[in-house]
């Protein structure tokens, strides 16, 4: 297993943010993490990469996280934070290079140079590779930051709301990229708000409610009328189509 969580819980003072989460992510999966605001999606992702302390067991490739140094961790998992603030006027190309340097590489070596070119072309970054990350559009920035994660050449990428703030076209663009990566063998854990999008993109969905994992399975198994009502407290209209279910919230309960 690339990532395994056993009985994971996170407490913030006396407050219980996450409790007894059990989750496994294998090779070639796209796992969608869904749940209402405040259900603990971001907290769970941060706990997974050791950004916040947790109880229970987190292991990558059967190695417990606590035995993995920060440097080694960067080879197991790449993380895209929800915050996409870049402090300096770096070029898109340099942003990608940072990912490579994180795992001890250098884009001045032929091997990594080739990897860089590969990422640039597969993410369609060629036209903006020399441009400043502070000047490009939201969609371009999201792709550039994803490119940085890809340059870490990890088997697993954890992305916190990668589609936030993107227009439909760029959301679909990102979906295609994720699916291409999946075909190449990279696994992903992404948190999402759009049920329809999640159902189409992901191989499995994990649904959180108030810090508990209430469902983990195939999208159509997880996104049922009863569960959506129970977890989100809204009524939804679920329409089965050839491209998968289209799920629209209709009324608040």
């Amino acid at each position: 297993m690339l990532l395994q969580l056993k009985d994971l819980s996170v407490n913030y003072g006396p407050k219980n943010i996450l409790s007894s989460i059990n989750l496994e992510i294998g090779k070639g999966e796209i796992v969608g993490l869904i749940g209402p605001n405040g259900s603990g999606k971001s907290t769970l992702m941060k706990a997974m990469v050791g950004l916040i302390p947790s109880n229970g067991e987190i292991s990558y490739d059967d190695r417990p996280l606590k035995n993995i140094s920060a440097r080694q961790l960067s080879k197991h998992v790449a993380y895209m934070a929800q915050e996409r603030d870049v402090a300096w006027d770096l070029s898109v190309e340099r942003i990608l290079a940072l990912g490579c340097e994180a795992i001890g590489g250098s884009v001045r070596t032929p091997k990594h140079k080739a990897e860089l070119e590969d990422v640039v072309s597969s993410l369609g970054l060629e036209p903006i590779r020399k441009e400043s990350i502070l000047q490009v559009s939201g969609g371009e920035k999201a792709r550039a930051l994803l490119g940085r994660a890809l340059m870490q050449k990890t088997p697993l990428i954890i992305a916190d709301e990668p589609t936030a703030g993107l227009d439909p076209e760029h959301q679909l663009e990102l979906q295609e990229i994720f699916q291409k990566l999946q075909q190449q063998g990279t696994s992903m854990l992404v948190s999402l708000h759009d049920w329809t999008y999640a159902a189409r993109l992901c191989t499995r969905l994990a649904m959180l409610k108030e810090g508990r994992l209430v469902a983990y399975g195939l999208p159509e198994e997880v996104l049922t009328q009863e569960r959506v009502q129970d977890v989100y407290r809204v009524k939804a209209h679920i329409l089965e189509t050839e491209q998968g279910p289209v799920i629209t919230p209709t009324t608040r309960l």
Binding site: L90, L98, R108
Partner: protein, 332 residues
């Protein structure tokens, strides 16, 4: 490996630094010709000119280079660490706190028996400021809180320095607040350099190894952590490195502001915005700028009593204002 992309920049800056260093050696209160100085520099016997050269001009020029390099380098590191182009040892209160430490060490008489108490106390003062600052300003690098926290720390440190000087039984001490607030390289000696040297070496070493971590930190603390950067280690290197080196130079030159602000900003575009590539050029350019400022002070003549920090502030303060105006959108 291909050639380092910044090699031309570093070479050019180094040549300028060397030229300014030599120019600085040629200028002083006494009118000495180049021939006289060269002859004295290599004289086997001690002559008045050779003493002036080796004991007054060389230490002053060296101290200028070391101080400038320290301020430039630490400015670049602090900006990277705090993710803010307005971070600088002077503005965030590190320099004035170092001054406070040095003042306590000197005026209590501690340095008479223990010379190393001088840089050690300055380090302590600087470290307290550097640790307090992020606690006051918050870790997100917001300009407004950063500057407010810096102003608060500076004011407290300056007030306490003033108090310490006023409490000294030596009647001259109270007037020396000017030196501690505005800085000067006047009449410093090799002794000063020897005492601060170990602190400078350790400080620079710590600062120079922060580069890779600072690069990753461009993408935010969380992302940096997952890119193999140990944030506690990075903070330790940046803060202790700054405290040791800025503390040491401040202990012998007083507070000299704005070098660490101007230099990284001027160079940032040339190195593609990357914090790591900014470090060495900032150090060399800092040495250039401070030496240039000191040459100007010397050209004003010994009677003018112009302080080095006045000159750097005259250039630096408008620059600072300009940076704030540029950042105003982010401030609101």
């Amino acid at each position: 490996m291909t050639k380092h992309p910044d090699a031309p920049l570093i070479v050019i800056l180094s040549l300028i630094a060397i030229a300014l260093f030599l120019t600085s050696l040629m200028i002083g209160a006494a009118d000495l010709s180049i021939a006289q100085l060269i002859e004295a520099a290599f004289a086997s016997e001690k002559t008045p000119v050779s003493i002036v050269f080796w004991e007054i001009r060389v230490p002053r020029a060296l101290l200028g280079v070391i101080t400038g390099a320290t301020l430039g380098l630490s400015g670049a590191v602090l900006q990277g660490l705090l993710r803010n182009p307005l971070a600088e040892p002077g503005l965030i209160g590190v320099s004035s706190s170092a001054s406070l430490g040095a003042v306590i060490a000197i005026y209590t008489g501690l340095t008479i028996t223990m010379p190393y108490a001088l840089p050690a106390f300055a380090l302590l003062g600087a470290a307290i400021a550097a640790v307090l600052l992020p606690m006051l300003a918050g870790g997100r690098g917001q300009t407004l809180t950063l500057i407010l926290a810096g102003v608060a720390i500076s004011s407290i440190a300056t007030a306490l320095t003033s108090l310490a000087l006023n409490l000294s039984p030596n009647p001259f001490a109270a007037m020396e607040i000017v030196f501690w607030m505005l800085g000067s390289l006047n009449d410093r000696s090799m002794q000063h350099l020897y005492i601060i040297a170990p602190f400078i070496v350790v400080g620079w070493a710590l600062l120079l190894i922060t580069g890779k971590g600072l690069n990753a930190l461009s993408l935010g603390e969380e992302t940096a952590h997952t890119m193999g950067v140990s944030l506690p280690r990075l903070r330790f290197c940046a803060i202790v490195g700054t405290a040791a080196s800025v503390g040491a130079v401040t202990a012998v030159t007083g507070t000299i502001g704005f070098i660490g602000l101007i230099v990284p900003h001027l160079l940032r575009k040339m190195v593609g915005g990357e914090p790591q590539r900014l470090l060495i050029p900032s150090a060399i350019a800092g040495a250039c700028l401070l030496t240039l400022a000191d040459i100007t002070v010397k050209l004003f003549g010994p009677q003018s009593n112009l302080k080095l920090g006045v000159l750097t502030a005259i250039v630096g303060a408008p620059f600072f204002l300009w940076l704030i105006i540029k950042q105003r959108r982010a401030l609101i």
